[in-house]
């Protein structure tokens, strides 16, 4: 067999292997909480501890909460930048931050204020994206949130901020199977 055929065959195998690797390695490295659980906590620090002790890795987080940034949530949740920490340590690879519609304009102005010097916000049809170096943080009001995820996600719900109608909508995501989670953390 000529030398070049051997080399080209090796390159082709290497190439196909790299494509297969890039599809399979990431999902293989994700780790999930077993058994599935729902936990109540009072702070972002506790939430961070739960994620770490559950050994979850490489995940998508869906966060139903009021404040993304500690600097705007005076005496409330979150008191630390737990998303930043989780992204930097590989716990989550992307986040959906879903806020009540009633406060959507406040969320936009808070994030424009915080991120304008660091990274511009990328606007989308449903809201905007913060391009964190640990992954995308998609921020949107509840009315624009459509859970189209074909994997188990980490869920965080700040209980007190939702109206009964909004609460029902979130619960329906779980009941209908649109949202499946191995670890739901409720902030009380």
């Amino acid at each position: 067999m000529p030398h070049r055929i051997i080399i080209n065959t090796a390159i082709l195998i290497f190439f196909l292997g790299a494509i297969a690797f890039s599809y399979m390695y990431g999902p293989y490295k994700r780790s999930y909480a077993t058994p599935h659980k729902t936990i109540s906590v009072h702070s972002a620090k506790e939430l961070d501890n739960i994620w770490r002790s559950s050994s979850v890795h490489g995940r998508i987080a869906i966060i139903f909460a009021r404040h993304l940034n500690p600097q705007f949530s005076i005496n409330g949740f979150p008191e630390t930048d737990y998303i930043d920490t989780a992204m930097r340590h590989g716990i989550i690879r992307a986040a959906y931050y879903v806020v009540p519609d009633a406060i959507w304009s406040d969320v936009i102005s808070e994030n424009l204020l915080k991120n304008s010097s660091m990274a511009p916000l990328k606007t989308t049809n449903s809201g905007f994206i913060i391009l964190h170096e640990g992954g995308r943080i998609n921020v949107m009001p509840l009315s624009k949130f459509i859970p189209e995820l074909n994997e188990n996600v980490l869920v965080v719900i700040e209980e007190k901020i939702w109206s009964s109608q909004e609460r029902l909508k979130i619960d329906n995501y779980f009941r209908s199977g649109l949202l499946t989670s191995d670890l739901v953390v409720r902030i009380e």
Binding site: H3, R4, I7, N8, I11, L12, F14, F15, G17, A18, I19, F21, S22, Y23, Y25, G26, P27, K29, R30, H57, G58, R59, M87, R88, H89, G90, R93, A94, S117, M118, A119, P120, K122, I129, L131, E133, G134, G135, R136
Partner: protein, 422 residues
């Protein structure tokens, strides 16, 4: 290849001279490099970034837009030598020095002229700016090294018919896995190679298939595999394309206000100034009014100002004599420079590192052409080489944070555009 010109430096002597230049280049890139046990300038970004990348697969300090190879290289040397100056800086010292050797080999293949090769290697080897960056962690040094390696292997394949195409493909993948400076230059070299082979009437289907496998599939594979740390965070290929698209989007949104150290961005000059105006800027730590340490950057004024006229001379000569391989350095210079000039964002002056090898190839060519024309080869070559050595030796204390008396360097220090403290 054009015929060997009337060189004053023989083949045997050129290797001896090269060895001398390499010793000097190594000395300037290593002496005292590991003494400063603190971060120099962007090392405060690069080193935590490399450690975070190696530990968690995530970049740090908002350095996610660029490919990851540079961070992985620094992380690997930190893993070997420890989290200390040797671990931080040894890879750049190696790549910077080896680039000098590669430039010499490339010049030999392009010009078939020992004098031009030696002058080009000397100019790069003793360029204070290249030495400065080789003593830190800037990714421009490995990016340029891998491109020079790619260019050399492609020239060996094209001109000498050596079987270096797959190795060139690997070097191409490594180049784009560091930074995007050579995105136009890379296909230009492929086009040059195809053109030369076609001129010899050897361009067959087999060669085209080899090109596709070695210069397309192989670099893509190398590039993808170097994201293994990133993929280990749970991502898939679709998310990889999304991340790349986000990176391009965000880089285009960068303005001067995006940079915390915008005074320093401006101090290095705008890209169009890099080869026109003499510029000095940097940091100092004065012990007293007479003594201090300096980390000065400059655009190597005595030589870089010759680059644009030399590029014109080298291009005209190559065009007139129909020496297609001699058009390569000016074309590569233009392809990289146009990318920088057309970028819709502020550029740091260290981006000029990618242009230096082609600028110095052109200067060395113009110098040899002039020397032959006036029949003063020995004089011109001695002048260039000794001027580069003297200038490099004079500037070295100013770029290496050694404790020095200020008075001998006042002429340079009086021209500094920006001087911060470190």
């Amino acid at each position: 290849m054009n015929e060997d010109m009337n060189c004053t430096i023989s083949e045997k002597n050129s290797w001896k001279f090269l060895l001398l230049i390499l010793i000097l280049a190594t000395f300037f890139r290593l002496w005292g490099t590991f003494d400063l046990n603190e971060y120099i300038e962007d090392e405060a970004i690069h080193i935590p970034n490399a450690i975070s990348l190696g530990s968690y697969g995530t970049t740090a300090n908002w350095n996610w837009h660029h490919p990851q190879l540079s961070g992985l290289i620094i992380y690997s040397t930190i893993s070997i030598f420890g989290d200390n100056p040797i671990g931080w800086r040894s890879s750049n010292a190696f790549f910077g020095t080896t680039s000098v050797l590669l430039l010499f080999l490339i010049a030999r293949l392009i010009y078939n002229n020992s004098s031009a090769s030696l002058i080009a290697a000397t100019l790069l080897g003793l360029d204070p700016f290249h030495i400065y960056l080789s003593r830190t962690t800037y990714m421009e040094i490995p990016a340029t090294f891998f491109f020079l390696l790619y260019l050399y292997l492609m020239l060996e394949y094209t001109e000498k018919k050596r079987n270096t195409l797959p190795l060139a493909g690997i070097a191409m993948g490594l180049t784009i896995a560091v930074k995007a400076y050579f995105v136009f230059a890379i296909p230009l070299v492929v086009a040059y190679s195809a053109y030369k082979i076609q001129r010899r009437s050897e361009l067959s289907r087999t060669i085209i298939i080899d090109f596709i496998f070695s210069l397309l599939l192989l670099p893509v594979t190398v590039y993808l595999m170097l994201y293994f740390q990133w993929f280990s965070r749970g991502y898939t290929l679709n998310e990889f394309f999304q991340m790349k698209s986000d990176a391009i989007w965000e880089l285009q949104k960068n303005t001067l206000a995006s940079f915390a150290n915008k005074d320093f961005v401006e101090a290095g000059g705008k890209p169009w100034e890099w080869f026109i105006k003499p510029m000095f800027w940097g940091h100092q730590r004065l012990s007293n009014i007479e003594e201090g340490r300096f980390l000065l950057q400059c655009n190597n004024p005595p030589f870089r100002l010759l680059a644009l006229p030399s590029l014109c001379i080298a291009t005209l000569y190559a065009w007139k004599k129909q020496l297609i391989q001699e058009l390569l350095p000016p074309l590569l210079f233009c392809s990289c420079y146009l990318l920088i000039l057309s970028a819709q964002r502020p550029m740091f002056s260290y981006s000029s590192t990618a242009l230096l090898p082609f600028a110095y190839l052109a200067i060395s060519r113009a110098a040899t052409l002039y020397a032959i024309r006036i029949n003063r080869e020995k004089l011109i070559y001695s002048f260039f080489i000794s001027a580069a050595v003297i200038w490099g030796a004079y500037m070295f204390p100013l770029i290496s944070a050694r404790l020095i008396p200020v008075s001998p360097f006042r002429p340079i220090l009086s021209m500094v555009r920006y001087m911060g403290n470190f």
